[in-house]
């Protein structure tokens, strides 16, 4: 019971945290681009846009940072046996994140927010770039730690204690799962932030036809198109790598119960399915696509869940090694299909830019506004696919999730914390959504007033940012 609750808590707090993370990573980059453009061309529109989207960035960072704290604490609070067993490996990237990335991000974000009239233009621009670099560095360390759980490398098992011990830090940072998933996450962050920027711009263009937002919308689409295409490609390559190291994850994503020798087809939808239904009704099968996705070859074979289960029982002893198939199957599809929808919107937008009609197509602007929901669903589905697919392992083939939980923490205590976090997170989700929408709908002139001298008592007190 305490274990399931701890898993629920970790899942909820991680998914919640990752609503804000990609916006922060992507928007810091986009705001840095806008400010660079202003720095170079002295175009006042770019400065206004920098402040407009900078405000959204700051609103978003506030929650992103504090929910990340919850993650760091939870390893020790809820997963103490995991932490003591592998902390010498897993803790390293986390400590490095704090020292190399988090200090940089927090310090220079403060400098950037308060530094508009304190710093030279060049140093002020450098500070937003420092923030952007820091957010990407931060993601690198977290993804290195996470990838170690997906595919543990760079350790030896202590002959006396049986404990895994770090013996090659470079292996941690050259882990193929890390390299591909890190790029995948960065691209997803760019997609997310570009869609946030596009949505705000589209809303503004529909309501106000302020030409400045054509520039913002164009920047969003210019970033979005390559990011979403590369993200699809990298994601599919990541699937091939995972099929090698975590075959259960991929077999479950396709509900492939029995090994398919080659030319395995991919089902668009199925009715039924799940861990107790090995023969769901599969609808519209695309020949050979699964083989391509899992092995990069039309003739590749895909191992089945039943065969993998038998292998795992032989290797690791009796137990159920099959993840929740329903979650795997559908999270994979939600991710892929919605990413395709994003691609379609991106290409449509590109065509409108080409025709110089971005501000005129009411239908596109309406869809682009609502499309802001899509990346959050895609990201969430992607993480569910990655994390649920690792179960029942907390570290793939090395440590079971059930062995990682804190023995001294009772179910009651986890209930209390779960209710506390969910309650507070729900409140702040509403507050954040309200503020993001409110500040996305302000006119560009209003945005100008924030982030430096605020309009209190006309110049009485300067730089009242808070």
């Amino acid at each position: 019971m305490a274990e399931s609750l701890a898993r629920w808590q970790f899942a909820i707090t991680s998914i919640y945290h990752f609503l804000f993370v990609p916006v922060t990573i992507g928007l810091a980059f986009l705001v840095a681009l806008l400010q660079s453009s202003w720095y170079r061309h002295e175009d006042p529109v770019k400065l206004r846009l920098t402040k407009f989207f900078g405000t959204l960035l700051v609103i978003n960072v506030a929650i992103g940072v504090v929910t990340g704290l919850v993650q760091e604490f939870e390893f020790g609070m809820n997963w103490s046996n995991y932490s003591r067993e592998v902390g010498n490996i897993f803790g390293g990237p986390l400590a490095m994140e704090g020292l190399l990335a988090f200090f940089l991000e927090s310090t220079f974000l403060g400098v950037w927010i308060f530094g508009w009239d304190r710093l030279s233009k060049k140093v002020h621009l450098a500070s937003i770039w420092a923030v952007s670099v820091a957010t990407m560095l931060s993601a690198a360390f977290i993804m290195a730690a996470n990838s170690w759980m997906q595919h543990p490398v760079g350790y030896v098992t202590n002959a006396v204690t049986g404990q895994p011990q770090l013996n090659d830090i470079f292996a941690i940072f050259t882990n193929p799962v890390f390299l591909w998933s890190y790029i995948h996450v960065l691209l997803a962050a760019l997609v997310t932030a570009a869609l946030v920027m596009l949505a705000a711009s589209a809303w503004q263009l529909r309501k106000r036809s302020n030409e400045s937002f054509v520039a913002a919308g164009r920047l969003a689409i210019v970033v979005l198109v390559p990011a979403v295409i590369l993200s699809l490609f990298v994601g599919s390559e990541l699937g091939v790598i995972e099929a090698k190291y975590q075959p259960m994850k991929i077999a479950a994503a396709e509900a492939q119960w029995n090994t398919c020798p080659g030319h395995c087809s991919f089902s668009l939808f199925q009715i039924g399915g799940g861990n107790n239904d090995q023969t769901p009704t599969q609808i519209i099968q695309i020949p050979s696509l699964l083989s391509i996705l899992a092995t990069n070859s039309t003739n590749g074979s895909v191992e089945g869940l039943n065969q993998l289960q038998a292998q795992d029982v032989a290797m690791y002893g009796p137990g159920n090694y099959i993840p929740n198939v329903f979650i795997q199957y559908w999270s994979m599809r939600v991710m892929a299909y919605l990413a395709m929808a994003i691609l379609a919107i991106a290409l449509w937008g590109t065509w409108l830019i080409h025709r110089r009609k971005l501000a005129d197509s009411k239908v596109f602007l309406w869809i682009a506004t609502w499309a802001v929901i899509l990346p959050f669903l895609v990201n969430t589905a992607g993480w569910m696919l990655a994390e649920n697919g690792r179960q029942p392992w907390i570290v793939q083939n090395l440590m079971l999730t059930s062995k990682g939980v804190s023995p001294s923490v009772s179910s009651l205590e986890v209930w209390i914390s779960l209710i506390g976090f969910v309650g507070l997170f729900a409140v702040f989700a509403v507050v954040d959504a309200f503020l993001m929408i409110h500040y996305s709908r302000r006119s560009l002139e209003e945005a100008d007033a924030t982030l430096d001298t605020q309009s209190v008592g006309a110049g009485e007190v300067p730089e009242l940012v808070y």
Binding site: A62, V65, T107, W116, D117, S120, N167, S408, G420
Partner: protein, 348 residues
Amino acid sequence: MTLGQLWLLIDVVFWVGFFVLEGFDFGVGILHSFVARNDVERRICINSIGPVWDGNEVWLIVAGAVIFAAFPLWYATMFSTFYLALVVLLLALIVRGVAFEYTRKVDDPRWQTTFRWFLTVGSALIPLLVGVALGDLLHGLPLDSDHQYTGNFFGLLTPFGLMSGVTMLALSVLMGANYLTLKTTGELHARVAKLSVTAGWVTAVVVWGFVTWAHLGLGKGFVPNVTEVIALLGVLAAALFANAGAEGWAFASAALGVAGTVATFFAEMYPKVMVATNSVNSITVGNSASPSYTLKVMTIVAVVFFPVVLVYQTWTYVVFRRRLGGGRLGADAALDSPSSPAADPVES
């Protein structure tokens, strides 16, 4: 010195850094609801820490992450032991962090008052709770032979732990008062300068009680540790300097008092890092340190990058060194910013 000892020392440096830097942020967060007479003064208080509080909070994160990487057993036991206390701590960190950014984002008195109190209460709860936890580490808690905590939430509220919490809270208020004295002008400055003196004397009494309990009370003999002497002298000097109007010295002395107090927790229990009531079950540097490879990697990373962090964090204090306040604005604006680069091209 073994690598384990080195990393304990590094971790103590992070705890000290956290309580010195974020200490005055907490103090300002608490005090701004009481010393400021109007909205402008409240904003001056909060803006005095605005550019730096987030960077300061990272010291806590790194202090925790260092324990995770360098002393996994200690991290695992400590964080699972203090479970519910840490939940409250996290909720406080969340509402306080969000309050900084959100208070002024909506022009509504009820909204602003709500977030202001989030900030005030959060700022008080965090040093209090972390102080209780540090006190408990030194006082001792029931751990079994597997180093798992066998008590419940109420078992964490040891009298010495509570005293430690109050001590860290008092020190934070002292730091906040001294910081505001350095950063403000006019009437507000006069008020916080006076408060620095009072806070100095009150905190001196609290710290005296704390060091006496930590040393004599926990049976460590009569002659105090050097950290305890530093703690007490630092706070006393803070009160005297504040009384004499030597604001910079008062602030530095208070920081020394904080450093001595934080170091006392670790010095008094060394080589233990988490005392068990049944002493053999205690967690020590020796039984919790990571294998030497991990510590070597961490040492290289820290030696290369920590000085860089110190340089740029120090730089931010130089950039934002100016006092904030209504009276001195004209002169300052003329001195510091020839023209507002942000505003000019926009308004043309």
